[in-house]
């Protein structure tokens, strides 16, 4: 089992997520135009820009880092994604604070705490056509790979997230704005599942460098 993940790695992850969202901002908004209200790209970009502006100097511990990220998202994003992504990070911090070593298992537990927070807030289940459709399979894939390196686990999780994201296309939404469209929500990819996949891909890409 290879080297532990550092706080710097996690900071790099958040920066990479910001960059990925910035690069896909228009696409996220376009997805949200089809079944929502055309703001998911700008919402996430605005929030992550604010987050990155607060990472200098970088927080000293993962717990501090995720608290900063979560609080900043909650206070700058708004909409559905603000409280949900905010909660994700706010729940990850405490989970990591108690970890002895920041390995795949610890990170996986933190991610689970975060996703459970999102479910508790948003009440979405897999199949409701939300970010949960990317996050939950990603967690499961992470756990299945957690005996390996964090980089391996992230790779598996990112792949599962992307599959979960793509699987939202045929779904009829039951949560979020897309649910107002009823049957017409089918045939479109959920924007939150797309941004959640960017989150896990950013982690994969960041940790790939740590191997």
């Amino acid at each position: 089992m290879s080297g532990a993940v550092s706080t710097d790695d996690l900071v790099a992850w958040i920066r990479a997520f910001r960059d990925a969202v910035a690069a896909h901002k228009d696409e996220l908004t376009r997805l949200d135009s089809e079944i929502g209200d055309a703001d998911h790209g700008s919402n996430m970009a605005r929030g992550l820009d604010a987050v990155v502006a607060r990472l200098d100097p970088a927080p000293a511990t993962p717990a501090e880092l995720f608290k900063t990220v979560g609080m900043t998202l909650v206070s700058t994003v708004g909409g559905a994604s603000g409280p949900l992504y905010g909660t994700l990070f706010l729940r990850m911090g405490p989970a990591l604070a108690s970890a002895e070593q920041m390995d795949a298992t610890a990170l996986g537990a933190a991610l689970r705490a975060g996703v459970e927070g999102v479910v508790a807030r948003g009440k979405a289940e897999v199949g409701d056509k939300t970010m949960i459709d990317a996050l939950t399979p990603a967690l499961d894939a992470w756990d299945a790979a957690a005996s390996g390196s964090a980089a391996d686990a992230a790779r598996a999780a990112a792949e599962a997230a992307a599959r979960g994201r793509d699987a939202t296309v045929p779904l009829v939404a039951r949560k979020g704005r897309a649910s107002y469209l009823g049957e017409r929500s089918a045939g479109h990819l959920d924007p939150g599942a797309a941004s959640a996949t960017l989150l896990l891909e950013a982690l994969r890409d960041t940790l790939a460098g740590t191997e």
């Binding site: 703001d39 708004g78 909409g79 559905a80 807030r121 939404a173 949560k175 704005r177 107002y180 009823g182």
Partner: protein
């Protein structure tokens, strides 16, 4: 994109600047993006706080003033405000008598107001919340996000604002708010999409001979896309689902026909000329009628119709003085 804007990223901040410049009777907290009455809440008066994404003007900021809201938190365009904003509005508006949060039923609004209410409670502010979910285009279900909150919000803010102005306590104010919320039904139709400034192009494309039936107030497509119809036929598409959803006879009601932003008043009146006899035929007695742009969706062409079944108390409070930029009478 043809709009009066500078940088699309600055739309909210700059619109707030204009509101501040135009309305000395309001106070704009630019940092928190909150619109307040210039006068602090009278001691003992329950404060009404609402808010939501921008792009629905005059709602909510234009309904701040005597007899209506005490403060409104303005989110980015179509994006619910953050808990910090709602908390700032709540704390600034509270006079010690507690605060009613008026929340439209959208996941974002619900979650952000919920977090704000928790934070406010932690700061010792008593908060009650009322949810508006009146859009009959959306089927209600425990498995979904439920109905959207639309035009009933305007009627609720007016009526409940009048009760708060009379000095009722938080429990009474919240109870009336829930009663009004339960009494309202809305239905919308769009002839065009709208353009979110940050997106820079219409949210959806709609052919010249089609329209969207069952839209909300966020520029989203509706429940169904149908061939463009005459005002006479559209009136039926709006009235029928509302009547059907009420089920029972309605009797006295307050009726709001709101333009969605780009539909001129002459068309709204023409359409109301078709709606009025349908309401009467369905046993809806439109005792009060409001027509104009009150709850909008940026530059969408379309309208939403709201019917609120009204008892004598509601009608009395509806008629009470109100002094806001968007709604004003009696003073």
């Amino acid at each position: 994109m043809k709009k009066f804007v500078n940088d699309p990223a600055d739309v909210l901040a700059e619109a707030l600047r204009g509101i501040g410049a135009a309305h000395p009777e309001l106070r704009v907290d630019a940092e928190n993006r909150v619109i307040l009455r210039a006068e602090p809440t009278r001691a003992g008066k329950v404060a009404l706080v609402s808010g939501g994404g921008s792009g629905h003007e005059p709602m909510h900021g234009g309904f701040v003033g005597r007899g209506m809201l005490d403060a409104a938190a303005a989110g980015e365009v179509f994006t619910s405000p953050t808990p910090d904003q709602v908390l700032a509005a709540t704390q600034a508006a509270d006079s010690g008598a507690g605060v009613l949060h008026i929340v439209k039923n959208y996941t974002g609004d619900v979650l952000n107001f919920e977090m704000a209410a928790e934070l406010a409670a932690a700061e010792g502010v008593e908060v009650e919340s009322v949810l508006v979910a009146d859009d009959v285009a959306v089927q209600d279900s425990t498995w979904t996000a439920g109905r959207r909150g639309t035009g009933t919000t305007v009627v609720l803010e007016k009526i409940v604002g009048a009760l708060a102005e009379e000095g009722a306590d938080l429990a009474a104010v919240a109870a009336l708010a829930r009663r009004v919320s339960a009494a309202g039904r809305s239905m919308g139709v769009a002839l065009t999409s709208c353009t979110v400034p940050a997106a820079g192009r219409p949210t959806f494309e709609l052919p010249d001979d089609e329209m969207e039936v069952g839209v909300g107030i966020h520029g989203e497509p509706g429940r169904t896309r149908v061939k463009l119809a005459s005002a006479r036929e559209i009136a039926k598409l709006l009235v029928d689902p509302i009547v059907h959803d009420f089920g029972d006879a309605v009797g006295p009601a307050i009726v709001l026909l709101s333009g969605l932003g780009a539909t001129p008043l002459i068309e709204q009146y023409l359409l109301y000329g078709e709606i009025a006899p349908l309401l009467t035929a369905a046993g809806i007695d439109a005792q009060r009628v409001l027509i104009g742009d009150y709850i909008t969706s940026l530059d969408m062409a379309g309208v939403s119709l709201t019917v609120v079944k009204a008892d004598d108390e509601m009608l009395r409070l509806w008629d009470a003085p109100v002094v806001t930029p968007g709604l004003r009478w009696g003073a």
